[in-house]
Amino acid sequence: MKVLSINGQSHQVDVPDDMPLLWVLRDVLGMTGTKFGCGIAQCGACTVHLAGQPVRSCLLPVSAIGARQVTTIEAVGQTPNGHKIQQAWLDKEVVQCGYCQSGQIMSATALLNQTPHPTDADIDAAMSGNICRCGTYVRIREAIHAAASV
């Protein structure tokens, strides 16, 4: 048994040490907001926060998490920057198919946590690990700037 601290709650899970957090979230805990896109940390759809840092949960073995806090899309809206980002996403109508947006929002929230007023270059650096096949990048950029100015 392992104990994981996710969104402020503690969860006991009986899973292999090398099992990536992504599948624990989705298949064991039923938290499907975090998405599977590539499995090799190329697309960012599975981004969660580990102790406040954005990480790709598809390659993060549960045994590496320890006591550190995990935050997912289901709870990021309860943080000030997470809420601002979600609201900006709504205001700018960023979303198309929406499948990558959980990861985009997690990366964008982490960016604002680190850099409250990011430049375009900051946005490129923080967000270029998140692929959107619908091509919502123009609005993602606008929404991050909008959230930062709230």
Binding site: P16, R26, G33, K35, C38, I40, C97, G135, T136
Partner: protein, 718 residues
């Protein structure tokens, strides 16, 4: 029809969300079933509208949502004629029921080809107007007044004396009235909702993780599986180490399908299934396609392209005009195989029982999915319940049901529900690819630089012949020549023909932009070549052929003006233009591109002018053009699917690259609004990308690239 109506139910509640937005709750089937059973007293005058005695308005949407915003646009069409706000409705995806939900343009219950708004523009408004007419008539009858003296606002009927009744109050009366055969639709001048940038109804659930896509389905007692399919089309499983897989903790089953071309490992979670699949150490017999490479496919196509094709367009005598021309040009253009690679990998959740089946997935073709499971499981079609879900992108991929067939061929061997998820690698290597096309073009210019004739031979497979055989007539694939046979230009002599050539080892299908994405690259690049040969400005050259096409000329002029066409640019930078009439819409795109010395392409600015006639939601139009263009640009720069030994070489986003935010240009979209009938929009931006990019690269470097993708080392040293 075996469909659980409430399973795709959204319920909208006004005003409750933080920040004052709409709160969109996605109800899981088990929750929705308890609250939303259609009642006998409901008003359901047609297949698209249902209103219950509480006044709950449910719209049943014939087209499916994969990002294009059709749930919102369809709801806007109906909300307009019902005189209700988007916050007052619930929407459901239509069940598989071809009789009621056939797309009149596609001839199937299907979503694709940028036709949805064109298909629904009248029928959904009529469906809603029928319901409104009945409810107004019921209220008027109760008040004993002329219905014409009543008006409706936000679902409340008012008469001239100030009395009012809500829709829910008159539903049971209205349900007793005869359904009118003809109803009057609003004049566009009366539109309140259509033409506004209304907020999308699916967005709130997509920013907080609550939206449920096919891959997110969880049903009781479900297990998780992942598949491996023969890497070479037609191949069979030779051997596997089943014991090793079963030894992996959490693995429950190893299933090889009867066809011997797919294996699945099923376990307690995807990780067990994945680990188990790796432990199988699968060996495959490649079969007869084991020698196929991209090069063998291209050389076969090159040979086929010398054959005479089926005529798609013949105007005057193009060959003679070219022979007699002062300047003659000819070229070969090549467009690669492409993968769709939507962000949500292929998946299907199934529970196949002896006498019935249920499936959960996101599909563009629910009836085909239902039939596929029925066939594989040996069940009557109406015993298969389809729970159609939101799709994490499609781009045409979910117009095919090959993955459903594979999933059913596995699931029929187990008694429990199973969610089968393709890894990205399996998804990318078993796509139904956008075909390789091989195009021969020629044209002649007279002494004044005027285009006097052109020929265009398209060589490639026919998707139509496979997907919709009755539409493949006399050997001509209309889609394969779309935007090649007909251009916006006045050209005196034209000859366009089509040679069908099916590649070995490859399945091919629709890809965003379909025929136009391929043909506009060829036609608009070659027009650019002709302009330069004629020593004319590419915009001016096009203008000269648009004297009788005011809508095309207008978008060209608007894009030229907004992009500062003709103003000087730094060295290594260039502007490219392309013009199109595709999917019923006029569009012109100007790109500003920089090519750096190592041959890196950077798109600095994109300007698009669009005339898609009457517009349902201008913000959705803008979003579709922005996103479609980005998909098209990334694809044109980086993407091609290649084969070695009959198997696909690429496997994931590291070798099948997608455009990222740091590469995405600024995109300006200018919309011409008019009262012309609506055109399609979802694929126009994607189709515009490659020709505008190629023409801009030429302007920047003087290099004419005739084979996609552009970034395949073709520019190194420039």
């Amino acid at each position: 029809m075996g469909y659980d109506m409430p399973s795709r139910r959204f319920v909208l509640k006004a005003g409750a969300a933080a920040g004052g937005g709409l709160l969109l709750g996605l109800h899981l089937p088990s929750l929705a079933r308890a609250t939303a059973a259609p009642g006998a007293m409901d008003l359901a005058p047609n297949a698209f509208v249902r209103i219950d005695t509480h006044g709950t308005i449910t719209l049943i949407l014939p087209h499916t949502e994969f990002g294009q915003g059709i749930y919102t646009s369809s709801a806007m069409l109906m909300g307009e004629e019902l005189d209700v706000g988007l916050d007052q409705i619930a929407v459901e995806t239509a069940p598989p029921d071809i009789k009621h939900y056939i797309d009149p343009i596609l001839g199937d219950e299907a979503t694709g080809g940028s036709v949805s708004t064109r298909a629904d523009w009248v029928r959904l408004r009529e469906a809603a107007a029928v319901a409104r007419t009945l409810m107004v008539a019921a209220a008027a009858k109760r008040w004993n007044v002329d219905p014409a003296t009543c008006r409706v606002e936000r679902g409340v009927i008012h008469d001239a004396t100030g009395r009012s009744l809500a829709y829910g109050d008159v539903v049971s009366d209205a349900a007793q009235l005869p359904v009118p055969a003809n109803v009057k639709l609003k004049d566009p001048s009366q539109f309140k909702l259509i033409g506004t940038s209304a907020k999308r109804i699916d967005t709130p659930s997509k920013v907080n993780g609550t939206a449920i896509y096919g891959i997110d389905i969880i049903v009781p007692n479900m297990r998780f599986g992942t598949v491996a399919i023969t890497p070479v089309k037609g191949g069979k499983l030779a051997s596997m180490d089943e014991a090793a897989a079963r030894h992996v903790p959490g693995v429950q089953d190893v299933i090889r399908n009867d066809e011997g071309d797919a294996v699945a490992v099923i376990g307690d979670h995807m990780w067990a299934a994945k680990q188990g699949l790796e432990a199988l150490n699968l060996k495959w017999d490649a079969g007869e396609n084991g020698d196929v490479t991209l090069e063998t496919i291209i050389s076969t196509m090159d040979r086929a392209s010398h054959n005479k094709g089926v005529v798609a367009k013949k105007e005057g005598d193009a060959a003679a005009a070219i022979r007699g021309a002062a300047t003659q040009l000819s070229a070969i253009y090549q467009s690669p195989f492409l993968s769709h690679s939507p962000m949500e990998p292929l998946n299907c959740t199934l529970h196949i029982k002896p006498d019935s089946a249920e499936i959960w997935l996101g599909t563009q073709v629910p009836v085909r999915a239902q039939k596929a499971v029925a066939k594989v499981a040996g069940l009557p079609q109406d015993k298969v319940t389809v729970h159609n879900q939101l799709m994490g992108g499609a781009f045409g991929r979910r117009l095919d049901i090959d993955s459903v067939e594979v999933a059913a061929s596995i699931a029929k061997h187990v008694s429990y529900p199973v969610k089968l998820v393709w890894t990205r690698e399996e998804d990318l290597r078993h796509d139904y690819y956008r075909p390789y096309y091989y195009d021969r073009v020629a044209a002649g210019l007279d002494a004044d630089g005027k285009l006097v004739g052109r020929t265009h031979r398209v060589t490639g497979p026919s998707i139509l012949a496979r997907w919709a055989p009755p539409a493949f007539k006399n050997g001509l694939d209309d889609d394969a020549v779309l935007c090649a046979a007909e251009t916006p230009y006045e050209i005196p002599n034209e000859y366009v023909d089509y040679v069908r050539d099916e590649p070995r080892a490859m399945n091919t299908s629709w890809w965003r932009g379909v025929g136009p994405t391929h043909n506009l690259f060829v036609v608009e690049s070659f027009i650019d070549e002709l302009a330069h040969a004629a020593k004319q400005d590419p915009v001016e050259f096009r203008r000269g052929m648009l004297k009788t096409n005011p809508r095309a000329l207008a978008v060209l002029n608007l894009a030229a003006e907004k992009s500062d066409w003709g103003s000087p640019l730094p060295r290594g930078t260039g502007r490219g233009v392309e013009l199109q009439f595709a999917f019923g819409s006029y569009l012109c795109c100007v790109l500003e591109v920089e090519v750096t010395p190592p041959g890196e392409i950077s798109v600095r600015r994109a300007v698009v002018a669009i005339d898609c006639g009457m517009t349902v939601n201008p913000d959705t139009v803008q979003a579709q053009i922005q996103g479609g263009l980005i998909l098209g640009l990334g694809t044109a720069m980086y993407n091609e699917i290649t084969l070695t030994g009959g198997a696909i070489d690429q496997s994931n986003f590291h070798d099948y690259r997608a455009m990222r935010i740091n590469e995405a240009p600024k995109i300006e979209v200018y919309q011409i609004r008019n009262s012309e009938k609506p055109g399609g929009i979802g694929e126009t931006g994607t189709a515009a990308a490659a020709p505008a990019l190629g023409n801009a690269i030429f302007a920047a470097t003087g290099k004419r690239l005739r084979r996609l993708p552009f970034g395949r080392g073709q520019l190194s040293g420039t």
